[in-house]
């Protein structure tokens, strides 16, 4: 139900072009991707996230108070008109992203942390351990994330279902990218030097390998975030998330659909806000992937 497969299984190969064995030092500057352009998407993402976080404070009206007739067209006090119950659409859009995005952030963070830990371990251990981790990942990936979230929602609350599904379907992907990269990095001279110095595996992983994974992990976290946002929006639109009258972009989509002919803004404003967030977060992730060294 969320995205095209949504919830996509996206994977960035790293082995081919990271330059196996190079230390993660300064890389040759590329002609394209000069500083301002490179920072455009991440800056937009940070701005947008701040705006969504502060949105409830900026709302001109309380999001659940009736301020005019139902489906009123935009005017002075309600710049985006009103919804089915005469509530201010602008206030509801400003207040409606906080819950969705914070849920997506928690879900993505959980997936990335677990996936990175599993990837670090299996990439470092190699051999049988790595194969076992990969096999468990394959098993989990056979169930599409939206289906997993729905099935989990029989027993868990919508939010817990989103987090659990995001971890079960996302962590294996993160683990795989990280493990591939670690398997390459551990052959690097600076890593071997640390091992020769007698440092123990956890110290080497934390101090020598983790910093080199920064770009990769950021890019991957962006993908997990977009997927979690899609999951959260889907469950919410299906009525398994926040309940009315909570302001929530996905709920607003369903509530706004019947009144499209009267006040299209009640439907289009939350739809565009949701779409914009997902687009910008995805772009920031791709940008981190390009500039972070790991393609």
């Amino acid at each position: 139900m969320t995205g095209p497969a949504p919830a996509g299984i996206r994977y960035v190969s790293t082995r081919a072009d990271t330059g196996a064995g190079l230390p993660p030092g300064p890389r040759p500057r590329r002609r394209r991707g000069t500083l301002p352009r490179r920072l455009l998407a991440p800056l937009a993402a940070v701005t947008l996230l701040t705006l969504v976080g502060l949105g409830p404070l900026l709302a001109p009206h309380p999001p659940d108070r009736t301020v005019g007739p139902p489906w009123a067209s935009p005017d002075g006090s309600t710049p985006l008109g009103t919804d089915a119950l005469g509530r201010d659409v602008l206030s509801r859009v400003l207040a409606g992203g906080t819950g969705l995005l914070s849920l997506a952030l928690v879900a993505a963070l959980a997936a990335v942390l677990l996936g990175t830990a599993a990837g670090l371990w299996s990439g470092w251990a190699g051999g049988g351990a790595a194969r076992r981790v990969a096999w468990v990942g394959d098993l989990l990936l056979a169930v599409p994330a939206p289906v997993l979230a729905l099935v989990l929602a029989t027993a868990l609350s919508g939010a817990s279902a989103v987090v659990t599904a995001s971890v079960m379907a996302g962590a294996p992907l993160t683990a795989r990218v990280v493990a591939d990269e670690v398997a390459v990095l551990r052959r690097g001279g600076w890593v071997r030097a640390a091992v020769e110095r007698g440092e123990r595996a956890p110290a080497v992983l934390l101090r020598e390998i983790l910093p080199a994974l920064r770009g990769l992990a950021t890019a991957d976290a962006g993908l997990r975030l977009v997927t979690a946002l899609q999951l959260a929006a889907a469950l919410s639109v299906l009525g398994l998330g926040p309940q009315p009258p909570a302001p929530d972009w996905a709920l607003m989509l369903r509530e706004g659909l019947p009144g499209t002919a009267l006040n299209p803004a009640a439907l289009l404003a939350p739809a565009l806000a949701l779409a914009l967030c997902a687009w910008v977060l995805g772009a920031a992730s791709r940008s981190a992937g390009r500039t972070g060294g790991a393609r």
Binding site: T2, A5, Y11, L141, P146, V147, L148, V151, A278
Partner: protein
């Protein structure tokens, strides 16, 4: 190709399918209470609930219940609905044609759109990948809202609710398919374009393609004769992802547009905790995805056979990285 490879690939997919049924079953087992009190919530006495639990077999340990459920599934009897008491197979059976029609139309539409987008991107020098990736990130509810609001609300071209006439099939009222199919196909096509764009660009850098361009072949001839043959396997793998994703997406789309299929059934069963229906209705997306993976793997294994015939073009090292729904990038 080793002669045993197809058998090995089929076995891998069978194990994955089995594991998926375990995941689905275990996920519905997380509920602290159980189905014993679902039907008569609050109205039954302790003894009645205990009797119902025995009747439904809930007093047995979970592994036994899983095996019984799996056995029922394989023999075509996944139990009865806790709400209506009707056999799950019957409920699913009457909704299967509608969902099959929706998935088939959406998949066809997504394939055509992806081919078109890739062709456009190729003719424009390999650009447009970030637009496709951006569109693919947009959550499906937003697509549903914008398409529904535009086509049904503002333009009035199609009905806002995709009800089918009683007894009628989706093919007899194609206007009901427009909104659900577009909502499923557009983001899927964007996603597939984003994935295949990279493979296309990689293929275009290959020596034989560069040579063909230098020989003065037209871009379309280069594309058809020297690039497309390399794209079959990646395209099939992405196709498996799309088919699984579209089938999974029916849950959302059928619910929003009121289309009477298995996806909508899954959502309503989740809402009332009708566990047997949830367990069975969750399986189609998994089976479609795994069937697609198997087809892609078998075709990849067959084309891998060309490596030994001396042409070398299909040699493993020459193949572009291809996304694999289950196994990452090959």
């Amino acid at each position: 190709m080793s002669p045993r490879l197809p058998a090995r690939l089929s076995a891998r997919v069978a194990v994955l399918a089995l594991a998926a049924t375990v995941v689905v079953f275990a996920a519905t087992e997380l509920l602290p209470g159980d189905a014993g009190d679902t039907r008569d919530a609050g109205r039954a006495t302790e003894e009645e609930i205990a009797a119902r639990r025995v009747e439904l077999g809930l007093d047995r340990p979970a592994p036994v219940r899983y095996l019984l459920w799996l056995g029922g599934l394989l023999t075509g009897d996944p139990g009865r609905s806790l709400i209506t008491g009707r056999p799950v197979a019957e409920i699913l059976g009457e909704r299967l044609p509608a969902t099959t029609a929706l998935v088939a139309v959406s998949l066809l539409l997504a394939t055509l759109l992806t081919a078109l987008a890739l062709l456009l991107a190729h003719l424009r020098g390999g650009r447009g990948g970030s637009i496709a990736a951006g569109l693919a990130a947009v959550p499906q509810p937003a697509w549903a809202a914008v398409l529904g609001g535009l086509l049904a609300g503002l333009l009035g071209w199609v009905p806002p609710v995709s009800l089918l006439p009683p007894g009628g099939s989706a093919w007899s009222s194609p206007q009901a398919l427009v909104l659900p199919a577009l909502t499923l196909a557009l983001p899927s096509a964007a996603y597939a374009t984003g994935l295949l764009q990279g493979v296309l660009v990689d293929t275009l850098r290959r020596p034989h393609v560069v040579d063909a361009e230098r020989r003065g072949l037209s871009p379309l001839a280069v594309l058809w004769r020297h690039v497309v043959p390399f794209l079959w396997v990646p395209a099939l793998r992405v196709g498996a992802l799309l088919a699984g994703g579209i089938t999974a997406g029916t849950a959302l789309v059928e619910t929003i547009f009121g289309y009477p299929g298995i996806g909508g059934l899954l959502v309503s069963a989740v809402a009332v905790r009708d566990i047997p229906v949830v367990q069975a209705a969750a399986l189609p997306p998994i089976l479609v995805l795994l069937a697609g993976v198997l087809v892609a793997d078998l075709v990849a294994a067959r084309s891998g056979a060309g490596a030994g015939d001396g042409t070398g073009a299909a040699d493993e090292g020459f193949r572009p990285r291809t996304p694999d729904p289950i196994g990452g990038v090959r």
